[in-house]
Subunit: 383 residues, 2 copies
Amino acid sequence: MGQIPRFLSWRNMLVLSLAINFSLILKILKGDRERGDSWDRTAYVSIWPVVSTTASESSSLSSASCNYSKIEEDDDRIINLKFGDPTVYERYWQENGEVTTMVIPGWQSLSYFSDENNLCWFLEPELAKEIVRVHKVVGNAVTQDRFIVVGTGSTQLYQAALYALSPHDDSGPINVVSAAPYYSTYPLITDCLKSGLYRWGGDAKTYKEDGPYIELVTSPNNPDGFLRESVVNSTEGILIHDLAYYWPQYTPITSPADHDVMLFTASKSTGHAGIRIGWALVKDRETARKMIEYIELNTIGVSKDSQLRVAKVLKVVSDSCENVTGKSFFDHSYDAMYERWKLLKQAAKDTKRFSVPDFVSQRCNFFGRVFEPQPGTYKEKQK
Amino acid sequence: MGQIPRFLSWRNMLVLSLAINFSLILKILKGDRERGDSWDRTAYVSIWPVVSTTASESSSLSSASCNYSKIEEDDDRIINLKFGDPTVYERYWQENGEVTTMVIPGWQSLSYFSDENNLCWFLEPELAKEIVRVHKVVGNAVTQDRFIVVGTGSTQLYQAALYALSPHDDSGPINVVSAAPYYSTYPLITDCLKSGLYRWGGDAKTYKEDGPYIELVTSPNNPDGFLRESVVNSTEGILIHDLAYYWPQYTPITSPADHDVMLFTASKSTGHAGIRIGWALVKDRETARKMIEYIELNTIGVSKDSQLRVAKVLKVVSDSCENVTGKSFFDHSYDAMYERWKLLKQAAKDTKRFSVPDFVSQRCNFFGRVFEPQPGTYKEKQK
């Protein structure tokens, strides 16, 4: 995988590899060196970044610190905890494939336009409907009186939010900060074009400059999985909330999130990373308008087919939650995460070579029971 | 359509509206004021920018010059030549819907990865195959020893090329120039983030600065439809070729294009604008690698579903060309363009209120006959 570029390091902290790799840890720690079994192969196929294993590095996660040298399939002693790919929910979607199957005729998606009457003219109405519905079913975000902006993943929406929230006068770039440890690709995305509108300002915990700034709040946080609030003590902060992991398989849903700009993505909620669809719930019309403007300039809208697919997937998710007889998607994904964290905790206990964080249990309004977070990302406990 | 944002002005210069609007011109010039027929309605639905009607404005096309105020359906005297939407080929795709229909199961597109062994790891192999095939069938671009980079439309690829070709040292932003009249969104895209890597440098015809620069060559050009070559007389130019319209329905294919960076898009070739897929053929590996890096940072790859759809559409196009018994996609689309230009020319002749450019006929290697360009964009002839 030498060809997977350096920036991908730490990205997306996906769940499947985490657990697969944990299984491998267990295997290897127990001295199981047998070759050629399916777990080994899966580990090498799963090459998405998953965890930070050293606490000291996590606040300055740099792409340069990642080694993307090719992992040979015949070397089963190497476990790459940095990579993953969200196929953790694959079995669920295979078992529920029928209702989620889409048929797209050849004449679909000729037009650029999805909804001429919507401020976000490239948003498919069906997707908008299912976004509102799934948030209502799960209770994880307020959608009333919000503008929905669809993006090619939440990564594009993060950039759209920066474009929308930065001053466009001659005041120079606004600082963008986030409390360490933060998702290491944020600084790379922010600074890659040397924008005169915004620049990465580092750790929000130590940020002391006067004047306006943008604070990015990722909750549950990537990579450590903790719930977060803004930390800069100033009235001049503009907040962006990345809530990619605020779903009940990862953390108790304690209340509907209610912030100015909230980002979500199909990659983390349903596991459909390859469709590249994210959405923002935005309180202010002008902010939404400028986010839309950015997406027009950047990609002239968002794939209609992908939107329709995510609409169908979200519909199946909501339907599964409202169907009282079977296991819902979140029951399934919660169980998958639970099993994997159980393996990880056991491995940590057995070896003492690494440790897991202490999470606080809370009551989840969606499941109606108390449990502790089981994040889709993992960062070793600080010592 | 007051909500269609200003930047969209002039974008994409799509074909359908052009012709529909031409029909409207004819109708109105002939005094046909009858209300409520289907053409009128179509004209108001078609709101994509299509043409520049005044030669003097075209070299400095500004978004501010476009009036996006809502066009009332009951005002059939207003013809908006600036907007369009690529449904010109809709009938073809409806008639050939069966073979182009896609069935996507719910478990598809969970992974971020399309091809781990490809430099462009998010490029679907099937799309890569069909891109090479269609260029070979049409003979409009060299694909041998080229890297294919897929993008969320060619707009994203333009930005990826800027990122890849700009110096990343402290030399300051490189100038990006293009011969006027140029597609007016280019400067908006280039300058929207006030990048320190690149900036819009204006008309290539009058560009005299020393040092490296990027010249954007759009051929056939948008908006005037003429074939183009680079115009800056310097050895320090880095070229990007936007060949979105270099297909036989728009212009004679005289030879396979053979440039360092060539951009194409499904929007113009097959009319599937809403799928948002473009591709670049790139000679230099390092340039391709950096373009891929940009797309990773910008959107973490490109929708897999959309790629697979375009792969299927391109397959049908190539199959239709190799099937000697029926009308190929390009036969169909050539005829559609021919009919519409015939209407436009007749309208120009009848009214003398506007004129059409004089294009030179050339032999098209694909069709094996001589014809004159019939561009997907229109700009009034200079006087």
